[in-house]
Symmetry: none
Subunit: 216 residues, 2 copies
DNA sequence: ATAGCTTCCGAACACTTGTTTTGTCAAGTA
DNA sequence: TACTTGACAAAACAAGTGTTCGGAAGCTAT
């Protein structure tokens, strides 16, 4: 049996509910619908809401006020197909990076991260940085890209990290290598030289786990 | 004057409201909060909600039932900080690509696109493809990346496009050049040779406008 | 036409829900 | 001490809100 279509009235009610929720963030009451759609009785609204629920267009939370919600608009979606991480600044070879723990996460600009790139449930401790410069061009990271980093203080050889050089008070995006007692920070750009320094002078601020690039 | 912090109780209430809305799609009532958080009186809830609203953590719709909404969770966000495009398949040098117009867009897998990469209002006619192979490695596109393409049938010299070779019935990701009467499709990989063919044999299926990469 | 169905109407009902009022109590503060 | 303020408690109040129910109107099929 094919799914029945919505009647004219049901279509209008559905549209009304969707825009009401989009604009105000809460469900309309039955009397809201009745009034704004010039329906003669609340019982008519009730009746058609029942139909809409059977059609799967809306979900009703039994007998409670303003209990209409729309599955396709569910805030649950907000944590399903993507997540959001704070954009903590720009990373350039040589310029200092705001400490992720000191930034007010509430007021930081947010970057949406598709679930295909990093699943939302693995987004804890992840932040984004804008890339300035081409020091990682051979690692397919270009000026203007956004890199996603997971905060961690250690790294394996070969991992791409944001590393802080304490003495120089600089933060840079490099590949990390531990070599008999010292650290090598290797740019992915054939024209640039690696940095050698002592383990004490290096503080890892996160590891790159994703890249986003706009070519518009 | 620095913004005050939430008290312990307010923190709990806020968390409760957020998860309630996420799970059920509607706001909790004051008595829901009172009961589930073991608060002695509705007036206490009311009092603290007032504080939360002053802090900007929640929005209250005056005097109506279940009128609490959370700005950060607003369904309006669903069309603000990102958009979604269909994932139409995989592009490999040599394998055919499903025609974007023939695919059922409703049931195609969706990819979330951050507003930073492509603004949602410019997402019309945009689709995503998974990249197979390393023919564009010098253009910073690697195996496994997602590329975002805007559907268009013409291209300027140097633009990166998905091009269909009609005779060969193959689709490939290349840089496009028009050279005195013929077309050159240039891979961005020093080890690979360009393809030369006639304009009649080339059908452009879209231009690359973004790249998403996961390094997890 | 008649039965059966869907859709609608109007009003009344009962529960849900936000608000208000009156106090209490502890921590500051002059 | 006396006064203010923040946070809480208990109960009562007044709307807001979903539901129900008898009946009417329109429609379809027999």
């Amino acid at each position: 049996m094919p799914r029945r279509e919505m009647s004219d009235r049901q279509e209008k009610m559905y549209q009304y509910i969707v825009s009401f929720i989009k604009e105000r963030g809460i469900s309309p009451s039955i009397r809201d619908i009745q009034r704004d759609l010039d329906i003669s009785s609340t019982s008519v609204v009730s009746y058609n809401l029942e139909v809409l629920e059977k059609l799967g267009k809306i979900v009703r939370n039994d007998k409670i006020s303003r209990g209409i919600s729309i599955p396709d608009l569910s805030p649950a979606l907000l944590s399903q197909n993507f997540g959001r991480v704070p954009l903590l600044g720009t990373i350039t070879a040589g310029s200092p990076l705001p400490d992720p723990e000191e930034v007010n996460l509430d007021q930081a600009e947010q970057v949406t991260v598709p679930a295909n790139i990093v699943p939302p449930n693995r987004l804890n401790g992840v932040y984004a940085l804008r890339v300035r410069g081409q020091s990682m061009i051979d690692a397919l990271i270009d000026d203007g890209d956004y890199v996603l980093l997971r905060f961690q203080e250690t790294a394996e050889n070969g991992q791409m990290v944001a590393a802080r050089l304490i003495d120089e008070n600089a933060v840079t995006l490099k590949k990390f290598y531990r070599e008999n007692g010292r650290i090598r920070l290797q740019p992915a750009n054939a024209t640039m030289q690696p940095i050698y320094t002592s383990p004490e002078n290096v503080q890892i601020q996160g590891r790159v786990i994703g890249v986003l690039r706009s070519l518009l």
